[in-house]
Symmetry: C2
Subunit: 209 residues, 2 copies
C-alpha cells in the first residue's frame, strides 16, 4: 500500500478550501449570492470548476457555509455592542448604531445576509441567525422593560421592527449607493445612521431623544 493522508496534505487542502471560501465571499459581497457564478469563483481562486466540488457538495452547500461564517461574525458584533455598560436604552442605541454602520459599510453584504432571496439550505441558515438576532435585541428590550426605561410591549415584534427599519432604510434603496465616495467618511451617511437610530429608539421608548 501507499499514500496515507499526511498532515502537510491536510493543511494544503484546508488552505485551498479557505481560499475558495474567501473568494466566494468576495463575489457575494460584490453582487449577492445569486450572481456569484461557480466559474467566476473558480477563476478568482485559481482552480478548475471541478475542484470546487472536491471541497463542497454543491453550490448551495458552499453558500450555506459562507452564510454561516459571515452571519456569525455579525451576530457576534451585535452581541459585543450590546454588552457595554449602561442602561438598556444606551446599550440598544450602541448596538443599533453598530448594526447600521456595518450594514452601510457593506450594503451588498448586508443585503445578501438579510434580504436576498436564497436557496432553501441557505434560507435555513438565515432562520437560525434571524433567531439569534431576535434573541439579542429581545433580551435587551426585556431588560429595558424591567429597568423601566422602555414601556411594556411585545419584545419579539419590536425587535423585528428594529431590524426591519434599519435594513430597509439602509439596504433597501441600494440605488442611493451610486454616490460612492470611496475615501473616508460621508456626512450623509452619518445623518442617515443618526436619523434611523433615533427613529428606532423613539419607536421603542416613546420619548424624544
Amino acid at each position: 500500500m501507499a499514500y496515507r493522508e499526511t498532515e502537510k496534505m491536510r493543511e494544503r487542502k484546508a488552505r485551498a478550501r479557505q481560499n475558495i471560501i474567501d473568494r466566494t465571499w468576495e463575489c457575494v459581497a460584490q453582487g449577492g449570492f445569486r450572481s456569484a457564478r461557480i466559474t467566476r469563483i473558480a477563476g478568482l481562486a485559481g482552480v478548475a470548476t471541478g475542484t470546487i466540488y472536491r471541497h463542497f457538495e454543491s453550490r448551495e452547500d458552499l453558500f450555506a457555509e459562507i452564510f454561516r461564517l459571515a452571519t456569525q461574525r455579525e451576530v457576534d458584533k451585535v452581541a459585543e455592542a450590546l454588552s457595554v455598560s449602561g442602561n438598556a436604552v444606551e446599550r440598544l442605541d450602541n448596538a443599533l448604531r453598530k448594526f447600521a454602520q456595518r450594514a452601510l459599510k457593506g450594503p451588498m453584504k448586508a443585503w445578501a445576509l438579510i434580504a436576498e432571496p436564497v436557496d432553501p439550505k441557505v434560507e435555513e441558515e438565515r432562520l437560525v441567525y434571524r433567531k439569534a438576532y431576535a434573541s439579542l435585541f429581545e433580551q435587551a428590550i426585556r431588560d429595558g422593560i424591567a429597568e423601566g426605561c422602555i414601556p411594556d410591549q411585545n419584545a419579539r415584534l419590536a425587535s423585528t421592527c428594529l431590524v426591519g427599519a434599519i435594513s430597509e432604510s439602509l439596504v433597501g434603496p441600494l440605488s442611493p449607493t451610486q454616490t460612492d465616495s470611496p475615501q473616508g467618511h460621508d456626512n450623509n451617511e452619518d445623518e442617515l445612521v443618526e436619523t434611523i437610530v433615533c427613529f428606532c429608539i423613539r419607536g421603542l421608548t416613546g420619548t424624544r431623544s
Copy 2:
C-alpha cells in the same frame, strides 16, 4: 383586399390581453416575479406560449405592465387613506394601518412589489412608485411638522423608515406565514399590525400612543 381590424376583434384581443395580465398577476401573487414562468402563465391563460409574445414584447415588458397596474392600486389606496379628515398623525396612523393590513393580506404580492429583486425595466417602475409612496408619506409628515404634532425631522428619511419597518416586519419573515388560517380574521395578525403601527407612530412623534 379583405380583413380589416373590426371592433369585435379589437375587443377580443383586449380581453385576451387582460386575461394574460390577470393570470400573470395570479402567478406573481403566488411566488413572485422570478418564479412566474411564461409556460405556466400561458398554461393558466389557456393559450400557447407564442401568443404571449403577440401581446407583449417580452417577459420583462409583461412584468413591467403588471407591476405598474398593481402598484398604482396600492398607491391609490394609501393616498385615499391619507385623505381622511383629522390631524397629520391620525391620517398617517390610518394610512400605515391600511398599508400594513393590505401587505399582510397578500404577503407575496407585497414582497414582489416592494422588495423582490427584479429586472431593470421593472426596477425602473419600482423607482417611480417608491417616489410616489415617499412623496405621500413625506407630505403628511411635513404637514404634521407644520401642525406641530410631529417634531421637526428629515421627512424623507423618516418616510423610508416607515415603509422599511412595515414591509420588513410583515413581509420579511415570509416563513412565519406558514400558520395560514385561510378563513376569517386572525388575532395574531391584528396584534402584529397594532404593534408595528404603534412603533412607527412613536418613532415619528416621539410620544407614547
